[in-house]
C-alpha cells in the first residue's frame, strides 16, 4: 500500500498543479449544477423532493465520470506521451500499484468536484424553492458510496486501456468515450428530474460499479511492462 499511496499523493499534487484542467472541470460542474437547479425549480409550484433526488442521482455520477475522463488523460496518457512511464517502470513498483495509485488520485479529485456540484445543486434548488430540500437517504448513500465506486471503476477501466494502447488507438478510444459522455450529460438534464430513486436502483448501481471495478482490476493482470513500453509515443 505504501507505493500506491506515494503514487496517489504525487498524482494528486500534479493534477492540482494543472490549474486549467481543474478549474475548467470545476466550472463545468458548477455550470451544470446551477443550470440543473434552475431547471428543476422553474415551475412556481414547490419542488417535489423526488425530482431533486433524481437529479442528484444521475448528475453526481455523470459529473464524476466526466471529470474522471478528463483527469485520466492527464495522469495515465500524459506520462506515456512524455515517456516518463519507462523510467517509472524501472522503479521497484508493480504495474498494479501504479494503476491503483493513479486511479485513486483521479477518483479523489473527480469525486471532490462532483460533490462540489451536488452542493451547488442543493443550494440553488433550495434557495429557489424557498425552503431547504433534503435528499433521500438512498440518494445520500448513492453519493457517498456508489458515486466514488463508479468513478473509480470508470477511471480504472480507462486507465488500463490507456496504459495498454498505443497513441493512435488512445486518440480513437478517447473520441469514442467522449461523445456518449457529452451527449449523456446533456440528455439527463431533461429527463432525470422525473426519476424516482429507490433503494433497489442504488443497490443495482453499487453492484454494477463494484463489478466494473473488479473487471478493471482484473484487466491489470494482462498489462505488461513490454506492452506499455512498445506502445509509448
Amino acid at each position: 500500500m505504501g507505493q500506491t499511496l506515494i503514487i496517489l499523493r504525487k498524482e494528486f499534487k500534479e493534477l492540482l498543479t494543472s490549474r486549467s484542467t481543474v478549474l475548467s472541470g470545476l466550472a463545468m460542474s458548477l455550470f451544470f449544477s446551477v443550470m440543473y437547479g434552475i431547471l428543476l425549480t422553474e415551475s412556481s409550484k414547490a419542488l417535489p423532493a423526488h425530482a431533486l433526488d433524481g437529479a442528484m442521482f444521475t448528475l453526481s455520477a455523470m459529473l464524476g465520470v466526466f471529470m474522471s475522463y478528463s483527469f485520466t488523460s492527464q495522469v495515465f496518457l500524459r506520462e506515456k506521451m512524455t515517456k516518463v512511464t519507462e523510467t517509472l517502470l524501472c522503479a521497484p513498483v508493480s504495474l498494479r500499484q501504479i494503476w491503483l495509485g493513479k486511479t485513486l488520485a483521479v477518483t479523489l479529485l473527480s469525486y471532490a468536484i462532483s460533490l462540489a456540484g451536488m452542493g451547488t445543486l442543493l443550494t440553488v434548488a433550495s434557495a429557489r424553492n424557498g425552503d431547504f430540500i433534503a435528499p433521500s437517504l438512498a440518494v445520500v448513500f448513492h453519493i457517498v458510496f456508489v458515486v466514488p465506486a463508479f468513478i473509480a471503476a470508470f477511471g480504472g477501466l480507462v486507465g488500463v486501456a490507456q496504459m495498454a494502447m498505443g497513441m493512435r488507438e488512445n486518440q480513437i478510444f478517447g473520441f469514442i468515450i467522449f461523445l456518449p459522455l457529452f451527449i449523456g450529460l446533456n440528455t439527463i438534464m431533461g429527463m432525470s428530474g422525473g426519476v424516482t430513486v429507490a433503494w433497489w436502483q442504488v443497490g443495482l448501481a453499487l453492484g454494477g460499479s463494484l463489478i466494473l471495478l473488479f473487471i478493471a482490476s482484473f484487466l491489470t493482470r494482462f498489462l505488461s511492462r513490454e506492452r506499455i513500453v512498445v506502445t509509448l509515443a
Binding site: 494543472s18 519507462e86 524501472c90
Partner: protein
C-alpha cells in the same frame, strides 16, 4: 554482476537483437557503442526487464530485474528521455523517486544531490523552466538518489553543450571512483566512451561486432605505428632503405623529416629505434602512434558492412 547470455529479441518476426552475450563486472564502466537502431536501447530495456527476451537471458546479480522489484532498488537509470515530471519542481521530482525507492533521510539526501549537480538554487522551479542540460543533470541526480550499485545511462550527454557534457562525464567518473558504481553506458559519443570506459562492446544490426577493453581492441584492430622525426634528408633515405629490408616492418612512408613506420609485430617497436641508431641514423624523436576509438569503431563498422 550484469550478465547477458545469448540474448535475442524479435518484434513481429523481425530480429532486432541476435545472440548478444556480454558481462559487466564490479567496478567497471562499460561502454555500449553502435549506430542508431543497432539495438543498444533494446539491450538496456531487456536488462532492465522492460522487455522480455525472445531467447537467452539478461541477469543482474544472477536474476532478471523485471521479476525482482527488490533488486530494482539497487539500480539507477537515465534513459533516452529524462524521466522527469514537467509540472513538478526539481525537489518534488527527486522526492517522488526517493520515496518509491525507499530512501531514508530523503531531505538531506536530496539537498546534497541538488548541490552535487549544481541545481540547488533552482530546486523549487518547475521543470518547464529548465534547460535541456539542467534536466539531464537532474535526471542523473534522480537516477542516483537511491545510491544504486548499478547505473544504466542511455546517451546521458546527448544534446548537451560541451561544458554540460564534461560535467556529466565528470559526474560519471566520480560515481565510479568514489562509490564503486557499475556503469553501463549507451552512447555514440566515442570521445566520451574513450575517456571514461574500461571495456566496450560495439553492436551493429543487433549483433556484437567487438567486445573487449579499449587497449585490447586497439592492439587487435590495428598494426602498431611508429612516427620518427629524423635529423635530415640523408637520414630519411638511409632509414627508408634499411627499414624496407626488415621483415617486421609492414610499410614505410616519408613526409618531410618524418617517417611513419607500420610494424607487423607490436614487440618490435622498441627494437626499431635501437636498430636505426645502430645504422647511424640521426633520430630526433620517436612517437608510438595510437589509434583513436573512432578509428577502431569506423574500421569495425566498415568490416561489418563487408
Amino acid at each position: 554482476m550484469i550478465e547477458v547470455k545469448n540474448l535475442s529479441k524479435a518484434f513481429k518476426g523481425k530480429t532486432v537483437l541476435n545472440n548478444v552475450s556480454l558481462q559487466v563486472k564490479e567496478g567497471e564502466i562499460f561502454g555500449y557503442l553502435g549506430p542508431n537502431g543497432a539495438g543498444k536501447t533494446t539491450t538496456i530495456r531487456l536488462i532492465l526487464g522492460l522487455l522480455k527476451p525472445t531467447s537467452g537471458e539478461a541477469l543482474v546479480w544472477g536474476k532478471p530485474l523485471g521479476e525482482h522489484p527488490e533488486l530494482r532498488k539497487q539500480v539507477g537509470v537515465v534513459l533516452e528521455t529524462d524521466g522527469l515530471y514537467e509540472r513538478l519542481s526539481a525537489r518534488d521530482n527527486l522526492d517522488y523517486f526517493a520515496q518509491l525507492y525507499g530512501v531514508a533521510d530523503r531531505g538531506s539526501k536530496i539537498e546534497s544531490l541538488l548541490k552535487f549537480v549544481g541545481l540547488y538554487e533552482r530546486r523549487d522551479d518547475k521543470l518547464g523552466n529548465y534547460s535541456k542540460g539542467m534536466r539531464r543533470k537532474l535526471a542523473l541526480a534522480r537516477a542516483i538518489v537511491s545510491s544504486p550499485k548499478v547505473l544504466f545511462l542511455d546517451e546521458p550527454a546527448s544534446g548537451l553543450d560541451p561544458e554540460a557534457q564534461r560535467l556529466v562525464r565528470d559526474l560519471i567518473l566520480q560515481l565510479s571512483r568514489e562509490q564503486g558504481m557499475v556503469i553501463f553506458l549507451n552512447s555514440h559519443d566515442l570521445d566520451e566512451v574513450e575517456r571514461i570506459c574500461s571495456k566496450i562492446a560495439i553492436i551493429q544490426n543487433g549483433e556484437i561486432k567487438a567486445y573487449d577493453s579499449i587497449s585490447n581492441l586497439r592492439s587487435k584492430s590495428s598494426q602498431p605505428v611508429v612516427q620518427l622525426t629524423l635529423s635530415g634528408d640523408a637520414d630519411i633515405v638511409k632509414a627508408s632503405q634499411f627499414l624496407k629490408t626488415q621483415t617486421y616492418v609492414s610499410s614505410v612512408s616519408a613526409d618531410n623529416h618524418n617517417l611513419t613506420v607500420t610494424l607487423n609485430d607490436e614487440k618490435m617497436s622498441s627494437g626499431l629505434l635501437a636498430a636505426l641508431v645502430r645504422q647511424g641514423v640521426g633520430v630526433e624523436e620517436a612517437r608510438r602512434m595510437t589509434r583513436s576509438l573512432e578509428d577502431i569503431y569506423l574500421k569495425i563498422m566498415r568490416e561489418a558492412k563487408g
